[in-house]
């Protein structure tokens, strides 16, 4: 089983990297870019059978280590 975790800065927390990429896209002539957010994707290979159990475990990983919930949100996909 594979868990895909996406970690992003929370809405309302300024994302300096996203902002820089946004400026670069603007100056390259890509019109209509409204916002750019840059996060990170963490792919975890799990030795697990039960999807719900795996998800609960990955959630705990996120809360403990993978995300800093003071500034970041995360999503979990189990495939």
């Amino acid at each position: 089983m594979t868990a895909i975790v996406n970690v992003f800065l929370k809405e309302g927390v300024l994302d300096p990297q996203g902002k820089a990429a946004h400026h670069a896209l603007d100056s390259l002539g890509f019109d209509g870019v409204k916002d750019v957010r840059i996060g990170k994707q963490i792919v975890i290979k799990l030795d697990a059978e039960d999807k719900a159990k795996a998800e609960a475990e990955v959630k705990e990983m996120c809360e403990t280590l993978l995300a800093n919930t003071v500034i970041e949100d995360y999503t979990i996909e189990i495939a």
Binding site: L9, V13, L14, P16, Q17, A20, L65, L66, N68, V70, I71
Partner: protein, 223 residues
């Protein structure tokens, strides 16, 4: 004073920190991150600067799980004084011992320069030898020093006098250096025994090297 200076893989300011406290007449001891206990009869724990665990994932996020950090947490809960400088500040916020978090600098650059700071609160064990509103000249050197806290958290910090320092001009007016919320450069916990700051007071001990303002900061812990 007896000062314990922590050391993680990737720490690189531990010797500067030892030099600073020894120059001020104190004894120091390096403590490796795998230690489960702190030395006995210490007066201060310093979490020094550097790049613990290569800043992987987030600065300070892995160091905070080191065995020694459990001992530091207990020490702080019992009222012991802890000072986190730069990466040490990041580790203490990641550990939840100081509110807020440190993000990438707004301009995405590693900023390394002398910076003036304004003392915001001095009724604590750290800055008691500095005057409120005093401007200090202390080097900064960081990429992730952009302090963030939400509005509610900021209000609590201000009400409890937990904001220690702000980046400022020579007159003490706040300036934007790295994007920190209200230009915050240093804060402490609610009990005012755990302190964190991005600037490096241990690098400001000799006028010939640019500033000796770090002396009165570090000497604060003597009182």
């Amino acid at each position: 004073m007896r000062v314990a200076v922590l050391r993680f893989p990737g720490t690189n300011c531990e010797f500067d920190t030892q030099y600073a406290f020894e120059k001020l007449g104190h004894s120091t001891e390096l403590v490796w991150h795998e230690e489960e206990t702190l030395p006995r009869e210490i007066d201060l724990v310093v979490v020094p600067g550097g790049f613990s665990y290569g800043d992987y994932l987030r600065s300070g996020s892995i160091a905070r799980f080191s065995p020694v950090m459990k001992a530091v947490k207990t020490y702080a809960e019992e009222g012991g004084k802890v000072l986190g400088i730069c990466n040490g500040f990041q580790i203490l916020t990641e550990a939840g011992m100081i509110p807020g978090a440190l993000k990438r600098n707004n301009n995405l650059h590693f900023i390394s320069k002398h910076q003036t700071l304004c003392v915001i609160n001095n009724d604590n064990a750290f800055l008691n030898r500095c005057e409120k509103g005093e401007v200090l000249n202390i080097p900064i050197a960081h990429a992730d020093g952009n302090y963030y806290i939400d509005d509610e958290g900021l209000k609590a910090l201000e009400e409890n006098g937990q904001v220690l320092l702000r980046y400022s001009d020579n007159e003490g007016n706040p300036v934007v250096v790295n994007g920190s919320v209200t230009s915050i450069a240093g804060v402490c916990n609610k009990n005012k025994n755990v302190f964190g700051l991005m600037p490096h007071p241990e690098r400001a001990l000799e006028a010939i090297l640019g500033s000796e303002d770090g002396i009165k900061m570090l000497k604060g812990f003597e009182d």
